[in-house]
Amino acid sequence: MVKLIINGKEIEAKEGTFILEAARENGIDIPTLCYDKELTNFGGCRLCVVEVEGSNKLITSCSSLVKEGMVVHTETPKVVKIRKDILDLLYSNHPKDCLTCEKSGECGLQDLCYRYGIKDGSYKGEVKKYAIDSINPVMERDQSKCILCGKCVRVCAEIQVTNTIDFTDRGFNSKVTTEFDNPIDRHNCRMCGQCITACPTGALINKQLKGIRPWEVKKVRTTCPFCGTGCNFDLNVKNGKVVGVTPNPDSPVNGKSLCVKGRYHSDFINSEDRLIKPLIKKNGEFVEASWEEALTLVADKLKHTRDTYGGDAITGLSSARCVNEDNFVFQKMMRVAFGTNNVDHCART
């Protein structure tokens, strides 16, 4: 362990830890827009600069390791001045539509401009303007809002390992895009949406969550109902309806990752085609019935079958899609209520 002092607070950190991480672990928030613990270091936004006693150069805390006896200051006037300049530059070259931006409320740029009091960009030059890429059904790209932090590029290369997007050009024309600047769709992208999660601004948006303000939703953590990987995520609930999915970094299997199914499936919950009443077939047609009528009919029929032909004339298919509790009760019903072991499920599909 290494001992150092940050903002007058004595802390201990593991050798090989970056100053930024050590500070965060101790509740000291150093701002950044391009750093993510799970991704390689980019050191591009320079917002995480700090002052270290005995050196007159500012250093980027996301890429400098802790050293024994180090004395670090994270909010000195010099540091704050640099941060303001960077934010001013970024915001000057950014659309001024925060009021209607989908990201408002959980935007990294907005948060930091608020924290450092940037009201308006002071550089009144040309602001970049790109067409919005919205041809696929789940994700929207507005490169005018991109601050070139490169998180999406790294997530796609390092976590999703697909390499759909990369930087092109330099200087003012620099942007993040796909090969040949094609729109994003299923041919060049896995639609996992991990870049959306990584993006600090409104440049990448989950279309399903458009029109939903982040503070309006209640989040309920649950387990994905699709493949056997068992990812966790948060169902976003507004007014008693599931409106979409966001990842939950505490998930033991998947962390912040999700695949296309986990992220975008949730509209099926509100499908018009859901069954809402018991149905009984009469003369070859389904008619809606009360629970009482349907349950009575099923119980009578099954009881009659059991008592006439024996329990083994009844079989049951349980479900690999239902929860353990449902499966437990299902096999118990077959064994205890009907006296048969004729229970199986599609384990084999």
Partner: protein, 533 residues
């Protein structure tokens, strides 16, 4: 899986056989790709040129259905070269001699002939797999959905035991379960031969335990498995069936036979969230709740039991699955179904299932727990078989290669295999407009060589027929499949591939041979194509 998903990235060698993980288990697939990115080595054994095949150190596009021969051939080389783990075999396994005898016959030359993989690549594969202790085997349906599925799984166990790749971190044999809770449904005893926790229904001791616990006399005989249920229904011996949340008409092989069997029942009850193809045949349909509307637990493929939490109320009058079942059970006179919530059921699961005994809703709240977890102090078990196997010594059972049940012939010259793809999951996801609009229809994969021969172009509608049925589908032309092969998914009811598939079953698990059916492909007239689209 014997090992945890978190270990995947640090396997130095990943032996991936018949698993298109980046489509079927995307997040595990990503971890495999990350392993490759770090410099770890992938051996990918798959007739299709999958995304993982692209990243593999060794890609073995073997002939479909020849897995057993391949694995025998690898073991042959390993033993000949002395790369096996003699100590592990000596201390922890029995039956080695029997395996030895069988693999003796699988010379590289013969195996190359059967599988279509060169001797040189076989040799390199054997060498790479045995080059480190941190080598795990990963497989999914590709290997179990053959008539020889059980044998294939046993043979992979043989390979892992032969080389001592078990009971260690970053190694093991890792089946990746298809549906989200297959592991849990099996653990819960939704099987004709076991009570919860794999306690055999024919074992007197377990029988007695459950009879005492539930206070009833239990049936001492194994029950019917799905294909037998269907056969017996068709024969008129099974009179009634209760189906919860499954759609065998669409997902089981030889759909026409399934429909016939279900139609022959006196009474069919289906409990589901949508009016599935199976539900359409029912006498009574109960509306159930989906996962977002209920509390409970799922058990994933690494045996991790995790919480499912109710986020919203279900629509209309739908009810919780377990509460419908409990109500039916009570009405036919059964006792012990007075549950007030899912946690009470979980408490009964704990009490009857030794590997779940140490779990509570409270303990699994944040991170879940991996079974076995026998006591409330036990931290759960990330990887299995450390030190000992549950049955003492690991039994090695030799496996002979058998030809697939159905081979191509002049009339049906193309080998059709089926599987999953990224954007859909069985059939439920089709109800998500978002997901459906990414991939709204089937695109059967066919090699450019065959497409050219038949004069078929991209996204053209064709007729695909087997000995059992005939369907229409659009095609996509791709080198992912070899000439003479075709690949389709079972996600689309408009192109119900299981009308074509073969219902020849594995004799032990009764898994159908979804992977291989012989088919023919024909062009269709413009009118028929237009009507289909």
């Amino acid at each position: 899986m014997t090992n945890a998903i978190g270990e995947v990235e640090d396997n130095e060698v990943l032996f991936i056989i018949g698993s298109n993980a980046t489509e079927a288990h995307p997040i595990i697939g990503n971890k495999m790709k990350r392993a490759a990115r770090k410099g770890n080595k992938l051996i990918v054994i798959d007739p299709r040129r999958t995304e993982l095949a692209e990243m593999a150190t060794l890609w073995l596009p073997l002939k479909s259905g020849t897995d057993a021969a391949l694995v025998n051939g690898l073991m042959h080389i390993i033993v000949k070269e002395g790369w096996h783990d003699k100590e592990f075999i000596e201390e922890r396994c029995t039956g080695f001699e029997n395996v030895l005898e069988v693999i003796e016959e699988y010379t590289p030359a013969r195996v190359a002939e059967i599988t279509g993989i060169s001797e040189e690549i076989l040799y390199e594969t054997a060498k790479l797999y045995t080059s480190t202790k941190k080598a795990g085997i990963f497989y999914t349906l590709g290997i179990t959905e053959h008539t020889t599925g059980t044998a294939n799984v046993m043979n992979l166990a043989n390979l892992a035991m032969l080389t001592g790749h078990l009971g260690l971190e970053n190694a093991g044999i890792n089946p990746m379960r298809g549906q989200n809770n297959v592991q849990g449904a099996c653990d819960m005893g939704a099987l004709p031969n076991t009570y919860p926790g794999y306690q055999s229904v024919t074992n007197e001791k377990s029988q007695k335990f459950f009879e005492e616990f539930w206070g009833v006399k239990l049936n001492p005989n194994n029950g019917l498995r799905i294909p037998e249920m269907l056969d017996e229904a068709a024969a008129g011996n099974v009179k009634a069936m209760y189906v919860m949340g499954e759609d065998p008409v669409l997902t089981d092989p030889d759909a026409n036979h399934v429909k016939k069997a279900l139609s022959n029942l006196d009474f069919l009850v289906v409990q589901d969230i949508f009016l599935s193809e199976t539900a359409k045949l029912a006498d009574v349909v109960f509306p159930a709740t989906c996962y977002a509307e209920k509390d409970g637990t799922f058990t994933n493929t690494e045996r991790r039991v995790q919480r499912v939490r109710k986020a919203v109320e279900g629509p209309g009058e739908c009810r919780l699955d377990w509460s419908i079942l409990a109500e039916v059970a009570k009405r036919v006179g059964a006792k012990g179904f007075d549950y007030r919530n899912s946690e009470e059921i979980f408490e009964e699961i704990r009490a009857t299932t030794p590997s779940y005994r140490g779990m509570t809703y409270k303990r699994i709240d944040q991170k879940g727990l991996q079974w076995p977890c026998p006591t409330e102090e036990h931290p759960g078990t990330p990887y299995l078989h450390k030190g000992v196997f549950p049955r003492g010594k690991g039994l090695m059972v030799p496996v002979e290669y058998e030809e697939p049940a159905e081979l191509v012939c002049e009339d049906y010259p193309i080998l059709l295999s089926t599987g999953r793809m990224l954007h859909h999951y069985n059939i439920g996801t089709r109800y998500s407009k978002k997901l459906d609009s990414i991939r709204p229809h089937e695109l059967a994969e066919i090699n450019p060589v065959d497409a050219q021969k038949m004069g078929i172009s991209e996204e053209e509608v064709v007729r695909v027929s087997s000995r059992r049925g005939s369907i229409l589908t659009r095609v996509t032309i791709t080198e992912k499949v070899k000439p003479g092969m075709m690949f389709m998914t079972f996600h689309y009811k408009e192109s119900p591939v299981n009308e074509l598939t073969n219902s020849a079953f594995d004799p032990v698990t009764k898994t159908a041979e979804y992977k291989i059916s012989a088919v023919k492909v024909e062009k269709v007239g413009a009118e028929e194509a237009a009507a289909f689209m």
